[in-house]
């Protein structure tokens, strides 16, 4: 057969004039001796072509290089006659199928892999699984994630674990603030004194430290040089901030802002987010969802468009789970956790809202159609039993941690439901908690349970001290350990 094809090319002087076409080669190879004009060959020999098609080699769709062997095999069944050709999705080049699958979400991809062997193969290896994972939870750290697992398996495991927040839990108290604090690494302690007012919020990424203060500014510090590299000036007291990729979201007064981290320029602003101060912010890893919590007890969810579109930031949903101001928010897909001055923690599952809204197809996975005033949604779960004024909360690694006025950190450890045996539980490293203390207004907790492989688990604390009778405000790193 190959020989025949080559012979055809050799004997037909017009070959270069023709758009290269697999059908043509196949067809003409079946009627070589005739040396009829190729186009006519196709026309006449389409019945013959049908029979031969089953054996067409990988070169079938020459235009795509990474074709798999799948399309040819199944194609033959559908080419019963030349007039009513029924083409199926498996006839498409693998690269095209891959492109299509790229636009689906995780569950749809799971469904597609049940359709046939060919689609299963493409859908299971699909690079999209890595994106799904990283978009929701960020890159996995360290060797807790064995590399022989596919991204799909990793994703499914993690997906299962998100359900445990509806299950049973136990509460631990950590007395880091009143007990002697153990410094794991003295050399990593440092203090940054530059703010002229109480520091209200802190955040970290691999290179920078971010701090916001009542001096109406957000400062960005270089973690290596420990120097302030940028100041973002606000018009009101800064309450909260979240860095995300190349942007930083901040809240000051009753407004929320988004800044470019490099330029230090204000990208967008949402005015009057809340009645009263906007105390807290949270953002999804990919940056397309922004949550705000305020003095009025409301939590809003905003969709933040990508940089290159000129859509506006739109409010998708609102919750009012608490009886008091929302003091802190944390988000790990699909759970949004809020803590309030009423001493309760609310858990909100945002998955349903996003699912129903992503039907309108294509590239962006989070998509909202409705322009209607956002509905007020009930929270999925409330956790009670904490002291009043829970100033901060964080979620991650099957745990929720909150800190409040009692100067005690509460850690809720959720147990995976024993009936779902598919969940494989990873051994967790010794629990490290990054805690920030200082003025009562602003305790911040950051949980980095997967960071055992990181040389320096990150922790920051801001504190207030008197030096030469003047009040200074700064940042200090402190590390707390579980008591006992």
């Amino acid at each position: 057969m190959e020989l025949a094809c080559q012979a055809t090319q050799g004997t037909s002087p017009n070959t270069k004039n023709f758009v290269h076409n697999p059908w043509y080669e196949e067809a003409s190879s079946t009627s070589l001796e005739g040396l009829i004009s190729p186009a006519i060959t196709i026309f006449h020999s389409s019945e013959v072509t049908c029979k031969v098609l089953g054996k067409i080699s990988v070169s079938n769709f020459d235009s795509s290089e990474d074709i798999t062997t799948s399309p040819g095999r199944k194609a033959c069944s559908s080419y019963e006659s030349s007039t009513t050709i029924q083409r199926s999705i498996t006839d498409l080049p693998a690269a095209l199928v891959s492109e299509i699958l790229h636009c689906l979400d995780a569950k749809e991809l799971g469904v597609v892999s049940c359709v046939s062997t060919a689609l299963n193969r493409i859908a299971s290896d699909h690079h999209g699984w890595k994106e799904f994972y990283c978009e929701r939870w960020g890159m996995p750290l360290g060797n807790l994630f064995p590399t022989e697992k596919s991204w799909k398996e990793l994703f499914i495991e993690r997906e299962f674990r998100t359900k445990i927040f509806m299950g049973r839990y136990s509460v631990d108290a950590l007395y880091g603030h009143t007990e002697a604090v153990r410094f794991l690494n003295h050399s990593s302690e440092f203090r940054l004194w530059e703010h002229e007012g109480p520091v209200t919020c802190l955040a970290l990424d691999s290179l920078k430290i971010y701090s916001g203060s009542w001096d109406m500014s957000v400062r960005i510090w270089d973690r290596i040089q420990l120097k302030c590299v940028k100041i973002l000036r606000h018009g009101d007291w800064v309450w909260s901030l979240v860095p995300c990729g190349s942007t930083i979201a901040t809240s000051a007064g009753r407004d929320a802002y988004i800044w470019g981290a490099e330029s230090g320029k204000q990208v967008s602003v949402i005015q009057n987010v809340h009645v009263g101060n906007a105390y807290s912010l949270a953002r999804s890893l990919s940056g397309d969802l922004l949550f705000t919590g305020g003095e009025d007890g409301a939590i809003h969810m905003y969709k933040v468009p990508k940089d290159d579109t000129d859509e506006n930031i739109t409010c998708i949903a609102t919750w009012v789970p608490h009886n008091g101001p929302i003091l802190s928010l944390a988000f790990e897909f699909p759970w949004l956790v809020s803590s309030s001055s009423d001493g309760k923690v609310a858990l909100i599952n945002v998955r349903k809202l996003l699912r129903s809204s992503c039907q309108s197809s294509s590239r962006s996975r989070v998509r909202v159609i409705s322009k209607l005033p956002p509905a007020v949604e009930p929270p999925q779960r409330m956790l009670h039993g904490f002291g009043p004024n829970l100033f901060s909360v964080d979620i991650g690694a099957d745990r929720i941690v909150c800190g409040g006025e009692e100067e005690v950190l509460q850690k809720c450890h959720f147990k995976a439901n024993s009936s779902s045996s598919i969940i494989r539980r990873f051994p967790h490293p010794p629990f490290t908690l990054d805690s920030l203390s200082g003025t009562l207004r602003s305790i911040n907790v950051a949980l980095r349970s997967y960071s055992s492989s990181e040389p320096k688990p990150i922790s920051c604390s801001h504190s207030r001290c008197k030096r030469n009778n003047t009040e200074l405000f700064g940042i200090k790193t402190v590390k707390y350990r579980n008591k006992g």
Binding site: D91, L96, S116
Partner: protein, 177 residues
Amino acid sequence: MSESTEKKMVRLRSSDGEVFEVEESVAKVAKTLQDMLEEDCADAVIPITCVRAPILTKVIDYCKDQVMISSSSSTTNNPNERTEQERKAWGQKFMEGVDSSTLCELLVASNFLNIEGLLNLGVDKMVSMIQGKYPQEIRDMFNVVNDFTPEEEEEIRNQNAWAFERDPYYKKRSSSK
């Protein structure tokens, strides 16, 4: 090329032998044809042998529209210039009523002729057809043969069981089946 004032025409022949005559500018929307035309190796009829006549008609419709858009936007700041939304609506209308078999052929054609816009339209349409379906529905829609053995299917179903459990919306659908 520019010596004649009237527009240069290009002739395309589909797999079933029908010949279409289109303006060169229209043909050039397809990158593959553009390359050929620029290399000047297409003097007579260009056979596009993997695309049937009805599909080629559709492709040419699309190309014509693209030419119209680009000429109106490049020459003047036409107030009639289409907005993003209108373009989307047009794309939807273009793809309306296209069945899965035609869609697959369109995809192959646009992939082969290298027409990015049409390819994207087709992919979007395909995605919207797949979304929210069950495997059997997808098989029916795209004429895919279920080539799993019963055991294999069972296993793969178990592996992906999590993808099927979901909102009330889906439960309703499955119970109505």
